[in-house]
Amino acid sequence: MSTDETTATWPDVRSDAKSQEFFAAAEAGELRIRRCTDCAALLAPESTTCLECYSTELEWITAAGTGTVVTWTVVHRAPSPAFAALVPYTVAVVELTEGPWLYTRLADGVPDRAGAPVRAVYLQASGGEHYPIFTLTEGSL
């Protein structure tokens, strides 16, 4: 089965021990974030220490997969040759409904304002892990 031509050109992502659960969930269409088992603070997926209480006892929970755009940039000049055929593309900071921020990419469209709502969509590049990016649900230029 052929993959979407647009997504097939993005670099592959590989999981490691710390990210295995995150990427496995993405394949099932779920976005996982971290929760502190001591104080219940919700944290970005790559967190290793609680921002609130400095605990290292973190667990995975499933987030809603919704959020808003904090800021973004449309990248016109490829940062490396691997992206030469992909520009222009939009990188964004998304604030999840649960609070944590993610550096991510928008699948299509450019936000018309900070605060534009987004939801997660799940991609797989040519052969690597599935992973979430975001799409504007309104407020696209």
Binding site: D12, T71, H76, P81, V93, P100
Partner: protein, 390 residues
């Protein structure tokens, strides 16, 4: 006892090929020692900060043939390193731990056939596994991308415009036109800024700093000793650093407030001055926006008013607050925060020729690293602090 910058050395900068970063570093230290009127064996402290390729390192000591050092270290706080090194050197001198400390940076990211983008973009670097790889795979790499998102947030929050950022680039290019060491000296207009290629929206090419090969060093001694050396002493009145970290969660001030908001006011408090006392600003300017947000965080204008503050040419030649008078990293050369430090020393000595500013009693210098989360500040003066015979 207080400390002063007694020597300054800078190699040829820009598209200078055939020398490694370590070679540039060694040359810069030799030049700085000679400038101060010191021989290499009078240097007893060496602080090194590496460039993008991880050189120079501690092995610079061997390359220079230095022996009997009482202080030797690599200092690494990204763009905050140079001012941090000078601060460490000043404390070493003040405590008696060392008497003449060389602080050096060098880098050689430009290759004859490579572009600047290749130099800092990592080329075809291997994508790491895990979350770090996810950012790379999404193209969320290079400082351009992250600083652009910081600037965009400022624009969305306060209404800052690309034209206001452009006013900074135009003013600095006018300064660069009077600097024989600058890489780009041809005058530009706001229209040129707006017409320059988009790199990462909202940054045009002319919002971004240049890339340079080269090296720079200073020699820090006691103020008393500097008085008897070859050059006018530039006194280190105060310094400060701030590393607030970057919180990636709701409530984060990313793009709006930086480490400068703690470091700048604290350095000025330690020097007993306020922004109104500052004659000359030499600010780290990786991007136009870096200057704008630093002006706000240092208290030269209110938060959110940086755009209006810079739009009228206040920072440019003839303006009321001369800033980045050598052209800065945007037009002159990029040697991390040695770019502003070098210009501060040259101006402070009164050696800036055509671009020399009249009032130079209080000079504030900034260094900024990472994506605005590492900051360092120096307050410098050609005048000895009260009570010090300089």
């Amino acid at each position: 006892m207080t400390a002063a910058i007694a020597g300054l050395g800078c190699t040829d900068v820009g598209k200078v090929y055939g020398q490694s970063a370590s070679d540039f570093a060694a040359e810069a230290v030799r030049l700085a020692a000679a400038d101060a009127g010191l021989t290499l064996n009078q240097i007893d402290g060496l602080l090194v900060t590496p460039g993008t390729q991880g050189r120079p390192t501690l092995s610079l000591q061997k390359q220079l043939g230095l022996r009997d050092l009482s202080l030797l270290s690599e200092v690494h706080a990204l763009g905050a390193s140079p001012a941090a090194m000078l601060s460490m050197a000043a404390r070493a001198v003040e405590s008696g731990a060392a008497s003449a400390v060389a602080c050096v940076f060098a880098d050689a990211p430009l290759k004859p056939k490579g572009s600047a983008r290749d130099a800092f973009g990592g080329g075809n670097r291997r994508i790491p596994a895990g979350f770090a790889g996810l950012h790379v795979a999404n193209g969320a790499i290079t400082p351009n991308v992250f600083y652009a998102m910081a600037a965009r947030r400022h624009m969305e929050t306060y209404g800052t415009t690309s034209e206001q950022l452009g006013a900074i680039a135009v003013g600095q290019r006018a300064w660069a036109g009077m600097n024989p060491d600058a890489q780009f000296t041809a005058p530009i207009t706001l229209a040129d800024h707006q017409a320059s290629p988009m790199v990462a929206d909202p940054f045009h090419l002319l919002d971004c700093c240049v890339v340079s090969n080269g090296g720079a060093a200073v020699i820090v001694t006691s103020a008393e000793r500097a008085r008897d050396l070859a050059q006018p002493a530039i006194h280190i009145l105060a310094s400060a650093q701030a590393h607030p970290g970057q919180v990636m969660a709701r409530g984060s001030q990313f793009g709006l407030v930086t480490g400068a908001a703690q470091s700048g006011p604290e350095a000025m408090r330690r020097a007993g001055i306020t922004p109104g006392d500052v004659d000359l600003l030499e600010l780290y300017d990786s991007y136009t926006y870096t200057v704008l947000v630093t002006l706000e965080d240092y208290g030269f204008c209110a938060k959110g008013e940086g755009g209006d503050f810079v739009a009228d040419g206040r920072l440019a030649p003839g303006g009321s607050l001369p800033c980045n008078t050598g052209g800065g990293q945007l037009s002159s050369y990029y040697l991390t925060a040695f770019t502003p430090i070098i210009e501060a020393v040259v101006q402070g000595r009164g050696h800036a020729g055509e671009r020399q500013v009249a009032d130079r009693d209080v000079i504030v210098v900034s260094g900024s690293g990472g994506v605005l989360e590492h900051h360092s500040t120096l307050v410098l003066s050609p005048n000895a602090p009260e009570g010090v015979v300089g």
